[in-house]
């Protein structure tokens, strides 16, 4: 296999890893905001990795240019989608999930 194909393989493999982790995160986190972090962000990266892999395997320049355009549109549309869900959740007034043991917080805050 050529170097290009190995790189594409790495991109597809990372897509599988990110996609699976996004799925696990959707079930592990308790509230919609944190779930959206996992589902939206890791889903975006998984799809983006697939695009990069297919960009590496593109047969000619015209196809590559189209894939780049699709990538740019996807970079705009994917965050907008999770923004719409997030805004709706925020408008309904759902409080944010607070884990029992917090990381990176000052001692004063922990005493409260």
């Amino acid at each position: 296999m050529a170097v290009r194909e190995w790189l594409a393989l790495v991109a597809f493999a990372s897509a599988i890893i990110f996609g699976t982790a996004g799925m696990i995160g959707m079930f592990r986190f308790p509230d919609p905001y944190a779930r959206m972090h996992a589902g939206g962000l890791l889903g975006t990266t998984a799809t983006f990795s697939v695009f990069i892999g297919s960009l590496l395997l593109a047969p000619d320049r015209a196809t590559a240019a189209r894939i780049v355009i699709i990538m740019i549109f996807f970079l705009i549309s994917a965050p907008t989608g999770s923004y719409i869900v997030g805004r709706f959740t925020w408008e309904t007034g759902l409080p944010v999930w607070k884990p029992k043991k917090r990381r990176n917080i000052t001692d004063k805050e922990q005493e409260k």
């Binding site: 890893i17 990110f18 982790a21 996004g22 696990i24 995160g25 592990r28 986190f29 509230d31 905001y33 944190a34 959206m36 972090h37 996992a38 939206g40 962000l41 890791l42 975006t44 990266t45 983006f48 015209a62 240019a65 189209r66 355009i69 740019i72 970079l75 705009i76 965050p79 907008t80 999770s82 923004y83 997030g86 805004r87 959740t89 925020w90 408008e91 944010v96 999930w97 607070k98 884990p99 917090r102 990381r103 990176n104 917080i105 000052t106 805050e109």
Partner: protein, 170 residues
């Protein structure tokens, strides 16, 4: 020709030009048939939608037309951010070490497009999702929050990106 009318014409021309550019990239052919139909389509759609594509109150060309060099540079920066944030998120999914919190701050960007891009970039960068954008006021859900100070939080979440976007749309 009064100012309002001229602004309509400029917006119409910009919209049609943008649509025609996208048409050229997607069809990738220089046959006269395709060129002529693309031109007719982009002029027609531009005439119908230019009021939506460019808002009337964005009455300055530098609010709309980006700096192309910085725009391309920013695209690569955003891709780097995307992978960095995904690796952080991957770790958080398996360890469960998070401290979620809602933070509020303001942005100094003036253009609507720049604010929209900033909101989308915040969603892409590590552990933050934009929940609301009202004029210049952003509501952000931050998964790895480590401060109570609003200004410090704003600087941590958007500082670098706001400077980059400020170069694209001043």
């Amino acid at each position: 020709m009064n100012v309002e009318r001229r602004w309509h014409v400029v917006r119409f021309l910009l919209t049609s030009f943008f649509l025609y550019l996208v048409w050229l990239v997607f069809t990738a052919s220089l046959e006269p048939y395709s060129l002529i139909f693309g031109a007719i389509g982009s002029v027609g759609i531009g005439a119908l939608t230019h009021t939506v594509f460019i808002a009337e109150h964005q009455a300055n060309l530098r609010y709309i037309v980006p700096n192309p060099l910085h725009l391309v540079l920013y695209l690569f920066i955003i891709i780097a951010f995307l992978y960095q944030s995904s690796v952080m998120m991957l770790r958080a999914v398996f360890t469960g070490e998070v401290s979620p919190r809602i933070v509020h701050f303001r942005t100094r960007l003036r253009s609507d497009v720049a604010r929209m891009i900033l909101a989308n970039s915040i969603t892409i960068t590590p552990g933050t999702i934009t929940l609301d954008l009202n004029d210049d006021h952003l509501t952000v859900h931050w998964l790895f929050c480590d401060t109570n100070h609003a200004k410090a939080a704003g600087e941590r979440v958007k500082g670098r990106m706001e400077r980059f976007i400020g170069n694209i749309w001043p």
